[in-house]
Symmetry: none
Subunit: 249 residues, 2 copies
DNA sequence: CAAATTCCTGCACAAAAACGCAAAAACCAG
DNA sequence: CTGGTTTTTGCGTTTTTGTGCAGGAATTTG
């Protein structure tokens, strides 16, 4: 088993179960504990996981981590949210993933907007619920604790029954070569289904994540219609994406 | 159980119940009191909690909210929750409705319990998600904003596919004549489906609601297996229900 | 004031991590 | 293909960390 392969497996396990014991990992993959420990160390250095005595934890285990880079990127996300909201019209069916950027959008929805929102993200649903004129449809299935989203074949099947007007994806990594990538296999499956079920696909991302790559591919740039960041549309960082045929706002 | 995991659990409990006894914690998590004490000490050093003799308090407890019957019925619900939890065994499939009593049960689940919880209630799901060893399955469909629960034919169809070991119903009204009744038509449909899909049906209710009636019927007394209240099982108020063949705890 | 908890200190023991080192594997010009 | 370099891996050994236990001190409670 290759090193990269092994680390991807570990990352997947962490994202799935929120915790992982180095002892159980080493018996699963049949390598020494030292190797596991080194892998965990590397993944922790890259900020993918939190290493603790006896194993590792998922980042979202304690929500405290999110508040660290909070206020600054909060503003970025708010401008992204405003741009995204402009795309939603009355009566539309809107499909959304999870993630903090989507959450910011959910919070900023104007109260008079009438639309139907479909999502499997618990935090997003909580926000949608507070709005007076929004119909909310929850995608049901097993819940992945770290991403706080429903995952599994039932969820995917349900999404495929929908034909939404627009789909908003919180994006973990975008790159001109690899397109949209992510680090949780099950979340990727969901996003793929969402893309297929929507007439229009919009990616939301803060500029930090532009030109970065994660292990698992969601889709190529050709499959997305629009990219929304906090930057001005003529920012040079976005040029390659415009050239690739993606609308930018 | 990892140290960080344990501390996260403690913190969650403190924030939820505003107080926590080190003695009860150590029996829940099955570690020595010394370990708990050290954890509390660390959390207190980080300013997360306030450590006191015998346990710890939430930081936000400074405001005296001896408001009304709030705390009182909170205690009733806590004893109900404790009795209900005793019925859940490892590996069980548990179906639950929504409601504050169910929520209290969700909050009090011991961390080492391994089980699968199925529900359509968003607040309940949020609590289940925080537990380290509980698998959570969300019933998806349209969301009823006032009851914060998924309702509709899809949800009912999904529930009917399940065969759960036990089903806990938060109860709005119970009466010897009318049985279980409620006031929301869609919620009633869901509860009916849950009753059908479970081997054992348990009703949770505070004694206030005993011998009261609501407009819509859920089921007769013959369909429920057990009634849990905060009262002692030999309380005269419960006598008619025992006579009707309902177990009481 | 006396009994019962609860708390603190030091200690022992086990589990896990860090470190250095050497063998093995992979990589890479030439 | 080859000889040298780098990377990766596993194995002792040492260090650190986490946990429980025993006693005596401090506190709550009746």
């Amino acid at each position: 088993m290759l090193k990269k392969e092994r680390q991807a497996y570990i990352l997947h396990q962490v994202n799935l179960h929120n915790k992982v014991l180095s002892s159980s990992l080493c018996s699963e993959i049949n390598v020494s504990e030292d190797t596991i420990r080194r892998d965990l160390q590397e993944l922790a250095d890259e900020g993918k996981i939190i290493k603790v005595h006896g194993g590792a934890l998922s980042h979202s285990f304690n929500q405290v981590h999110f508040s660290t880079n909070g206020v600054y990127s909060q503003n970025q996300k708010r401008t992204i949210a405003q741009k995204a909201i402009g795309l939603i019209g009355n009566g539309m069916f809107v499909l959304t993933s999870g993630g903090t950027t989507i959450l910011e959008m959910a919070r900023s929805l104007p109260p008079q907007l009438k639309a139907t929102f479909i999502s499997g993200s618990i935090p997003a649903i909580l926000e949608y619920m507070h709005h007076p004129n929004i119909e909310v449809i929850m995608i049901g299935d097993r819940i992945s604790k770290n991403s706080k989203i429903t995952v599994g074949s039932e969820a995917i099947a349900k999404i495929k029954q929908v034909k939404a007007d627009i789909c908003f994806l919180g994006t973990n990594a975008i790159d001109t070569e690899q397109g949209i990538t992510d680090n949780d296999w099950e979340v990727v499956q969901l996003k793929k289904a969402m893309i297929e079920s929507s007439k229009k696909v919009v990616c939301l991302t803060i500029s930090e994540k532009i030109n970065s790559v994660q292990p698992i591919k969601v889709c190529g740039l050709n499959e997305i219609d629009m990219l929304i960041t906090e930057l001005s549309p003529d920012d040079p960082l976005l040029k390659p994406y415009i050239n690739a045929g993606v609308k930018v706002a």
